[in-house]
Amino acid sequence: MPEFDRADVVIIGGGVVGCAIFRRLALAGLKPLLLESGGDILSGASKGNSAILHTGFDAPAGSLELACMQAGYREYRTIHHRLNLPLVETGALVVAWDETQLARLQGIVDHAHANDVPDVALISSSDLRRREPLLAPHAQGAVWVPGEHIIDPWSAPLAYALQGLAHGGRIRRNCKVLNGSFDGAWSLGTERGRVTAGVVINAAGNHGDLVEAMCRPSPFRITPRKGQFVVFDKLAARLVRAIILPVPTERTKGIVICRTAFGNLLVGPTAEDQTERDAAEVDEETLAMLVAKGKEMLPGLGEVGVNAIYAGLRPATQFKDYQIEALPERRWITVGGIRSTGLTGSLGIAAHVAGLYGRHFRTLEEAAPIWTPVPNLCEERPRPYQTQTGAEVLCHCEWVTRGEVEAALKGPLPAGDVGGLKRRTRAMMGRCQGFYCSAHVAALVEGRIEL
């Protein structure tokens, strides 16, 4: 197989974790090469999540996950302005809907304090009603977590990828890694040819154990956990201010009601194990259950339409914690089992991985960052349709201008497929789902993206 590319360090997987590692290593002066199997970054687990920046208040105590989430949380807060990324400071309420759940709230507060999230506090049902008057009256009480916030789950990793590119990293899409062999350096067989790598970082998400098997028998097994979501119309976003979390169970954080940075409101996710690693189907029964569950908690949803439905796959393993490990003699770093907290944890994971890299492979030095701000898609901040004279609005539901779509097709990392275009612009993602604009958008992208 002819050589297609080579690099000192190759990251397999362009999800939020891969993009954050890519950024961190590029900032440290390496010239990382990121290989993504999909047509664009964020094609796997990272395309469907609940878009919350977590404090880690409920993460397992002493876990690597907690450490990465909290480091990631702090770094996001520090850099988001520079990258023009939103932070909607909503806070979250863990709501008890019955006596049993109510009895568990104090434990949640204690756990949060032990996790060094000191501002978490119990609030009464009357205080809850004052904060969220439209919540169903059977809410018994809640835990207030002021630090839980909403971010844009797609612009953030895009900004990380762009910053990595600005620092000399490279990204290859449609470049699935098929096999690999090691003889002091790695030779990876990809769909586009052979890639030589000094060090490989496995950030392959739902394919993590398969990629790991190139290096060693994988110590973890991925069982993709599907989460279905229902997105309600923008009219629903005014029904609630905070993120509404349920009292969690052993298995899942449960079904969340959460505004989005884009001004919609989502209800989800479910937690359904499956073997299929790529396709996540929605099903009518579950979606109807989510709609009903949403209405049960927030009755006002009954008068609001559903805009979108989606399902994401989180790479769950048999372990609770992240599976991150350096194998110096194999020149390999494993970053696996990053389940639902990857969006928050990504920057912390990246710092942790850079630490491993520095310790085992080469001392890293931080360069002065080049900032690569991304276009704002957050409703709460000015958008081009409001600020640019003469802007032609192409998507009327999400108010996306022609200029925004054109911009997403240019630059160092243009949209690679329709999904990527939607994630970069929100075109066709609103209430009409393309009734009005999809043909115009298709005409605009013709020859640049295959539809």
Binding site: D278, E281, Q386, E392, C432, Y436
Partner: protein
Amino acid sequence: MIERDVVILGAGPAGLSAAAELARLGVGKVTVIDREQTAGGIPRHCGHLGFGFREFRRVMTGPQYAATLAETASQVEVKLGVTALRLEAGGVLQTMTPTGPETLRGHAVLLAMGARETPRSARLVSGTRPWGVMNTGALQQYVYLHGKRPFERPAIIGTELVAFSSLMTLRHLEIAPVAMVEAGGRITARAPGDWIARLVFGVPVLLDTRLVRILGSEKVEAIEIDRGFGAERLDCDGVVFTGRFRPESALLGGSHLAVDPGTGGPAIDQFWRCSDPAFFAAGNLLRGIETAGQCFREGRAAARAIAAELEGKLPPTGMGVPVQAEGALSYVYPQRIARDEPLDRELLFLARARKAAKGRLILKADDTVIWTHRISALPERRIAWPVSTRLLQGASRVTVALEERA
């Protein structure tokens, strides 16, 4: 702030016919705004025949009809590429125009934003989410506005009139859909829809057939259907979800105007007035879908009411008498009757049944039955009947019910 006598929101059949009628009645300062770059509304991309016979005594295609409508309103200012962002009390509109933000105020504002089909997402259809799933509206735009072939052998979901519009759009490309899939036991559109589908287009119409799920990773590969004996795979490369129109009412949801949960549109009185009398509404915004011709007539009627309002000739809105839909009816409008002089003016109730139903249509003023009529209703057929306001005199509540025969 720009002050106008009348601002019309939406340059489709209802908005343009209202504009033309206001011009004919000599109402001075009228502005039509529309977010699209071309006036005409949905007919712009209905490239087949079937428009304009009653209005213009000529059978036209949708684009011809749209152009003719625009022509009849040519004396009126039409501003395109204008996005309405918010409706505010007293006829105020916050808009974004190609030259920046603009506040418009009309002594009367006519809301005529139309309707759109329910997309796959809001129908909560199972399966993957590949490219190639769209509504008739998007399909028509691909074909008639951009000359594109989005797929070669799609399945069509639904058999409302618009599904046949989808068929005609596909025939224009010489594409034969693999099937039309209808969950009900009969074709929703007026006969001879099934006959036309089978004989003229050669398309199998699958009745009593449930769409189970959509298959395909990047692009649609197949659908699964259930005809009552388990799931069957039907290979196709696209899915067109037709019908189930709903008012394009996003602006109402965030506004002070009362919305009727039955129609999904603004609640109006017999003079097309919304709960804020500075706002009027006509056309498909009022409910799901009617023909362009019906929207045209409503726009014209609303224009006459607006002209009367500007001359101070409409009765005050006051409390009005609420009108309620019951039984198998999903809605009725007007939803409110303003007390009016003289008392024997004729008003027209329009309603739709929730499902196919046979029985009696009953009109009650309070608890008194004042009128009944035997009907056989289908959900996609308009039920319309005139009533003299004299019959409703003194009532505090009007009920319209479709009681099914046991």
